[in-house]
Symmetry: C2
Subunit: 144 residues, 2 copies
Amino acid sequence: MSDLEAISLKLEARGHRVTPSRRAVIAAILQQSEHFTVDDLLSYQGAGRATVFRTIRLLTEIGVVCRVLMEDASLHYRVSERGKHHHHVVCSDCGRVQDLDQCVIADVMRELSSATGFEIEGHWLELYGKCSQCRSRSRAVLAG
Amino acid sequence: MSDLEAISLKLEARGHRVTPSRRAVIAAILQQSEHFTVDDLLSYQGAGRATVFRTIRLLTEIGVVCRVLMEDASLHYRVSERGKHHHHVVCSDCGRVQDLDQCVIADVMRELSSATGFEIEGHWLELYGKCSQCRSRSRAVLAG
DNA sequence: CGTCTCGGTGAGACTAAGTATCACTTGGAG
DNA sequence: CTCCAAGTGATACTTAGTCTCACCGAGACG
Ligand SMILES: [Zn+2]
Ligand SMILES: [Zn+2]
Ligand SMILES: [Zn+2]
Ligand SMILES: [Zn+2]
């Protein structure tokens, strides 16, 4: 089963129609690498502006894509293999993204709940750094 | 020394002028409670739109205000008593904000650096929940 | 078969949160 | 006092998205 089919089924399962426009948006998304903006999708044609936004929102809601907050505070999207809550490390050099398997701060949050008096219910966490490839590349450059 | 004076000194120390417009923006900021948007400041008059934005950016850069990413992804600002890196817990009911003393995920990040191969250099973390007051209020309602 | 309905669509207007431009003003060093 | 870089503000522009509304079309119903 192709990715497009799998996503189509997921949509249908929730009572959404799989229209040509939506198929076009999904196809465009599947061609992106790492992460993309809605603007990247708009260049692909096949669905109007409003529909692209609506489709992205829909896909976000059903967990097919996830949102990535970049260091410059702009919002990108990314195909999510894991449907559930997770976090990313974004390479600030090449943009490569690594999904983290599970929520890395579940323990910390539990501690904080008792320390602050807040009942902590949600959080937003993004991590930024340099991936191993970019690090070895810059080491090579330094070494001449 | 008033807060306004303290901030003025901080600006001057970094080679920025303390102009009437900036004073007006700072005064407006000091009147806000918890957190605010740039729009909240615009209603105060005393500086043009562009200047309000420029001043907020400046104050963010020198650590006088910090940015708070709300659950709806909108960006708010908040006077920062601690100049250094820290995080917040935002009450999703009443909007109250609690600053966390130090970075709560420093340990987690260290672990991740070795686990992922990324050299993690930065992060963005916001926490959302219900403050103790809002929790006891809702308990009271439930109890009738 | 007709036709009704309702989810979906697209053009385009609108909004929110800023940034860019550029002529003008002004604080303060010399 | 003079001068100029820093700062200002009106306004145009941008980015990322939502809203509106007439229209389309697939399927349920008769
Ligand atoms: Zn990289
Ligand atoms: Zn998490
Ligand atoms: Zn509260
Ligand atoms: Zn931190």
